[in-house]
């Protein structure tokens, strides 16, 4: 058993709300961030809708200097810096002084691919024999750790500053990595989170795999249908979420308000063996991950009163529910409330875990379980395991005490984290 770890700050740049206030309201009232994308139509994508944050130019200049904004063409960095700086300030923390870094604070901010538009710009210049015209920030904007490097410089963190990457598990894995580093006494505070770029060059590969919905281009807000019998694929998204994890001692010492405690969790992989593959999960691994998370958190299965699933709105949603049910040995009316925010924000890929962890923690803070959308027609196989009453169709005033959040990713990787309410 290590030190106790709590969450003292949140920040988010989500498709349905930039900033904590807008995002909270959007989740409470079911505001969708999925929109028609004319650029995807021009490029002849099958799926011409996506969920991306709407960031105004004047908001950028609030977070970046004019020099940083020059030639900045990495949307993931913009989202990540907004979410990260917001979380830091939400936690009541200040930027380190100009001379000395904050040795006890670190950054663990993940991504899938970063700065893909900048990379495209560079590839064109290089192919045109104009390598000398790349400028000084091409490397910084396209290295995976660019996001933690930008945030590290702004905040002045002197502990570990790094980037993790594990496909759609990235954000949730990051929470657990930060938790472990603080629990083991190696840091007092870590800003953790993840970001994902917008645009056709990120989303194109998924369109080519034919796993995105193609029949909702005229009706974008209905397209993302987690747990629905008519789920037709995930809606590609982008954005960033960020959480400040802190040792309980540090939070107490500075009288910081606490959102929730991180009780623990687990990460594993199905090894792409059995039914697992590069793109499909190994159920045994998923169930082990959930069971290990519960054991690591030191709680009983029955104590979990809400689940925020990965639930992307593909044909795999019923299997995920079956795995939760088997792992927790709970079903029907005993199954916890379950929801997926992807109905509103789409699948934000590398950013999904962190955006959804922020939303999950907000449920503890607000004493609510936010409603699902687009699953009026719950998949019949899901109803074999969960009572319909446990899949709220709108936000309900049930105040969860303990929520399990899981994310799964390509490469057959899994992460599950357990959050506990701290309102008492």
């Amino acid at each position: 058993m290590g030190r106790r770890v709590v969450i003292t700050g949140l920040g988010v740049c989500a498709p349905n709300g930039v900033g904590l206030h807008n995002f909270t309201k959007a989740l409470q009232t079911g505001v969708s961030g999925v929109r028609f994308q004319p650029q995807l139509e021009t490029l002849k994508f099958g799926c011409q809708i996506a969920a991306e944050p709407l960031v105004k130019d004047n908001l950028r200049s609030h977070y970046f200097t004019p020099l940083q904004l020059r030639g900045l063409n990495a949307s993931g960095i913009v989202y990540g810096v907004i979410a990260g700086v917001d979380a830091w300030q939400d936690a009541g923390l200040e930027f380190a002084s100009k001379e000395t870094p904050d040795w006890d604070s670190g950054i663990l901010f993940g991504t899938g691919i970063l700065g893909i538009d900048k990379l495209r710009e560079s590839i064109h210049l290089v192919d045109d024999k104009q390598v000398r015209r790349l400028g000084s920030t091409t490397v910084l904007q396209t290295m995976a750790s660019g996001i933690s490097a930008y945030l590290g410089g702004i905040l002045g963190c002197g502990n570990q500053v790094t980037t993790n990457s594990s496909a759609c598990t990235t954000g949730t894995e990051g929470v657990l990595m930060a938790y472990e580093r603080i629990a083991s006494g190696k840091a007092e505070r870590i800003l953790t989170g993840s970001c994902s770029d917008s645009g056709p060059y990120v989303w194109g590969g998924f369109d080519a795999m034919r796993i995105l919905p193609r029949n909702y281009n005229q009706d974008p807000t209905k397209a993302s249908r987690p747990m629905s019998a008519t789920a037709a694929g995930f809606v590609p998204g982008s954005g960033a979420g960020a959480l400040v994890l802190e040792s309980l001692e540090s939070a107490k010492a500075r009288n910081a308000p606490v959102y929730a405690e991180v009780l623990g969790g687990a990460v594993n992989s199905g090894g792409q063996r059995g039914e697992g593959s590069m793109t499909a999960p190994n159920s045994e691994a998923v169930q082990r991950c959930i069971r290990q998370a519960v054991a690591n958190a030191g709680i009983k299965n029955i104590a979990i009163d809400s689940i925020n699933g990965h639930l992307t709105a593909t044909a795999k949603d019923p299997l995920e529910i079956e795995n939760w049910s088997k792992a927790l040995e709970l079903q029907g009316e005993d199954f916890p409330y379950v929801n997926s925010f992807k109905g509103l924000v789409g699948h934000c890929l590398a950013a999904s875990g962190s955006i959804e962890c922020v939303g999950t923690v907000l449920q503890l803070k607000k004493g609510q379980v936010f409603g699902n959308v687009n699953c009026e027609d719950i998949h019949p196989q899901i109803l074999n395991y969960v009572a319909a009453s446990k899949i709220p169709q709108q936000t309900i005033p049930h105040a969860p005490k303990i929520i399990a959040k899981a994310s799964f990713g390509f490469g057959d990787v899994n992460a599950c984290v357990i959050f506990k309410d701290c309102n008492d």
Binding site: P66, L67, R70, G71, R133, G135, S136, T137
Partner: protein, 84 residues
């Protein structure tokens, strides 16, 4: 374009690269980019690109080696424009 116009144009380019604690009023023809204006060497690369765009010229590697002060930059610009 006379020399004064070029100088003002160059100052506009330099302005954005100045650190917070250096104001544009401190920039003179004798200012050393790195030692006095505290512009880091990576940003000097970007200043060169901005100069190329603003004056429609191309700087070679040896020009960049000679570029230490604001005056050096002006001399290079003048020479390039003359030889166009």
């Amino acid at each position: 374009m006379d020399k004064e116009v070029r100088y003002q144009k160059l100052r506009e380019i330099i302005k954005i690269y100045l650190p917070e604690d250096v104001s544009i009023d401190q920039v003179t023809q004798d200012s050393h980019f790195i030692d006095e204006l505290n512009i880091n060497s990576a940003n000097l690369v970007d200043i060169v690109l901005d100069v190329e765009d603003a004056f429609d010229i191309i700087l070679e590697n040896e020009d960049m080696d000679k570029l230490l002060t604001v005056k050096d930059a002006l001399q290079i610009i003048d020479a390039k424009i003359k030889n166009k």
